[in-house]
Symmetry: C2
Subunit: 320 residues, 2 copies
């Protein structure tokens, strides 16, 4: 298996050890919980996390202006409730804790169990569940993907403004009603713990509607030029939103070279222009990945002014 690792059993532990060497503002507690060295003295603490393999999500967003803690599971595996509980206890300063959960059965179960445990111990905890992936018809079952990073940023921003917990929940829920993502891949990811590819893909095939855990997509098609691919993804996205003023995130899946992400950007922006869409803010980079998958995802959210302000606000994270 062509992976730059020592031992697949230590993938997560080794990765976090490495991270600490160059992200000077973080600490690791309870082995797999990444927290800010400088604990927030007031304001709602924002906690997220989930399985690993999505780097820089989520540990890379533990920073002033975004997350107070990221609870890291093994590759594509939910963290256990006791670790989420440890995060809550560590970050809670009395103003309450918001859990940002991606919609996967394990994550929802374990984060909500931790929420109950923490509430039983007197912590004020709320949670929001991100379901931005439009490839699944049933809205309740939609997966949380790259849009989650925009939720981190918005929630972190509101917390910096000292908004109370219930108001942050309300605003984030409102923002998420217009948050939509869709992804595609030309190469699947190689999962280090199994030594297997997430799915098989022919030399001339691409996959539309992929997930971030190596899940295959809903359409398998012959690979075509990026302008056609861009249109194809935008067609899917705009089945769900008619908004004209949008924030756009173009997210690399982990092994997509910068050059290609920029070429994607050109054709996505041109196609949006032809559709009469006004992009008030654009983010391009690797935000929520699937190990070494090659491909990209598009995320849009309505620009309601405050969300754009949040996205533009400073953060200590070098990944946003």
């Amino acid at each position: 298996m062509k992976k730059l690792i020592k031992d697949k059993e230590n993938f997560l532990a080794d990765m976090l050890d490495g991270l600490k060497f160059h992200e000077e503002h973080i600490d690791i507690i309870e082995e797999t919980v990444v927290v800010r060295k400088k604990k927030k003295a007031e304001g709602v603490a924002i906690v997220s996390g989930g399985g690993s393999g999505h780097e820089p999500a989520h540990a890379g967003y533990v920073a002033q202006g975004m997350l107070d803690a990221a609870v890291c599971g093994e590759v594509f595996t939910s963290p256990t409730p006791d670790k989420v509980m440890a995060a809550i206890k560590h970050v809670d300063n009395g103003d309450g804790v918001l859990l940002v959960i991606k919609n996967y059965a394990g994550d929802v179960m374990n984060f909500e169990m931790a929420q109950e445990m923490a509430e039983a111990e007197g912590h004020k905890v709320a949670s929001v569940i991100v379901r931005d992936d439009v490839t699944i018809d049933n809205e309740e079952q939609r997966r949380g993907v790259a849009g989650t990073v925009l939720v981190h940023k918005y929630a972190g921003y509101l917390s910096e403004l000292n908004a109370p917990l219930d108001q942050i929940v309300e605003k984030v829920e409102e923002m998420m009603t217009s948050l939509y993502s869709i992804g595609m891949a030309v190469h699947p990811c190689m999962v280090p713990t199994t030594g297997e590819y997430g799915f098989d893909l022919g030399e001339d095939e691409m996959e539309i509607g992929i997930g971030i855990h190596g899940e295959k997509g809903i359409y398998r098609e012959k690979i075509t030029t990026v302008d056609v691919i861009a249109d194809r993804l935008l067609d899917e996205l705009f089945k769900h939103t008619e908004s004209s003023n949008l924030i756009l995130m173009i997210n690399g899946m982990g092994a997509t070279p910068d050059s290609e992400l920029n070429i994607v950007t050109k054709y996505v922006m041109e196609a949006l222009g032809e559709r009469g869409k006004n992009i008030t803010k654009i983010l391009v980079g690797n935000y929520m990945t699937a190990l070494d998958m090659q491909g990209f995802s598009l995320t849009v959210v309505d620009d309601d002014g405050e969300v754009t302000e949040a996205i533009n606000s400073p953060t200590e994270s070098k990944h946003f």
Copy 2:
């Protein structure tokens, strides 16, 4: 060919068009010369460039505190002298221009030709040639690789301090006497203009001493664990330097996932500790890539105080 492109002939043009959509502080002149919108009113202008395929180098470093212009050639192809000349004319404010050239025959020839042309028109121009890749024995023939980005940062910093051209040249030349890099790959890059891999590599093989243009390495070995690989590369580096206080850059080759770069970081830092080396500053990320090559390179340079200050100084570039 599995590339997110429209047309291989327009790779560079499309990439720069895309870049402009999200790097708001840049402009493109003469089709392939990336410059700062806000031209520097005083201080030496720093110009670099070369073939494309190394993103975010060099266009991503056109920013306050680093480069004033990046002259972009087609993929792995040197830009022509007239484009370098256009860059010099655009950025020169009377305080002179420094060309930072990676040591490849085409780049050296074309940049030096432009320098002569510009001098003939009255511009004060100097150049430095980066030769940090230790894999080639003959020092004169050593290639310029990831260390070039540290040269951009140091030169940009000195320019911000309003150092005169000859002093910047002298300090950068001094800094480069301790600048050493070496790279490795587990997957070669696919070159979009040819549809070919830079080299072939067996399912259990890795390549030590690769270049950034898909050049194969000097040693082909069975892939092993990352701690052994780290030691192997450090052995090569420390044939050239005995310094104890070092700045370290761990550079992804373009398609290396963040998770693995962090695991690399852990074992490189541990191995450096065992060697009694003190790392005063560490940079981890994709700085100088080879399209979608998977692998990493290590760069070290002596910490002489001012170089560290330069590396830590602010820049508008989001890639440093």
